[in-house]
Amino acid sequence: MNQIAETLASEHIHRDEVGAKIGMWLFLFTELILFGGMFLAYAVYRFSYRDYFALASKELDVFIGLINTLILLTSSLTMAMSITALRRGNKKLSLIFLSSTIIFALLFLVNKYFEWSAKFNHGLFPGSNDLLSLPRGEIIYFGLYYVMTGLHAVHVIIGMIILLFMLFYIKSNKVNQDYYIMLENSGLYWHLVDIIWIFLFPLFYLIH
């Protein structure tokens, strides 16, 4: 412990890696609870507006949701493998895996863009007359849908930016076989984004 404290204070050498990981997990909890608040709101509204939720979810395209689920799952796979590759010393493979993760993230967003713009073309956007003419339960469903998937998309974008940084860090050897905690922590963040989607998918797309 003593040594850890000393290395930490002398700022240039590697930090306490377990500490960094604890910090990252604690941060992930705040993200988890942040979405948890919205899941709680979802639960309450689904409880009070059960039939309306089922009706409104018919507007969503299960196929697009399924594709996006598979994209995110696969991106999680490449993310995890990228860390393994780096730790085994295969920098090139690690970069390939990491790049594919970023490309998957981009695909997810493109898909999301088409999904949202289709909704907008149908006149189903917040504050639109078409939306406001729906029953209240459906208005709430779409309110939650836009807010929750929107905020998730923001997280995907943030994740992409973090991963892009990692790409450069690995290239410039700032993150390497011996010091990989930054990549590992970015991976944790990325997996959390995946986990949230794992719950969003059935809750919005698969209602009967």
């Binding site: 377990v18 604690l26 909890f29 609870i33 590992e184 997996h191 698969l206």
Partner: protein, 95 residues
Amino acid sequence: MEHKNNHIVGYGTYIFVWLTLVTLTALTVTVASFDLGGFSIVVALIIASVKALLVMLIFMHLKFDDKIFRIFVAVAFLTLMIFIVLTFSDYSFIR
């Protein structure tokens, strides 16, 4: 709680987990096409929880990390569960 993170998870394990996740996704979509009434949400949530657990244990290395991380994660999820359960002590029993 010294760090012994020498365990490097192999590609094979990851691919196996990924295949399981894809299978579970297919399962949840299939199940959703049947009308199970009130049970459909329960089944959907159970499958989603299993998927999330797999991601956390393998992809996020919880299985191989120090015990303290598993305790932390348990505390966080428990807190969220309690928030939800206590809120529903109002909604489930409202007249």
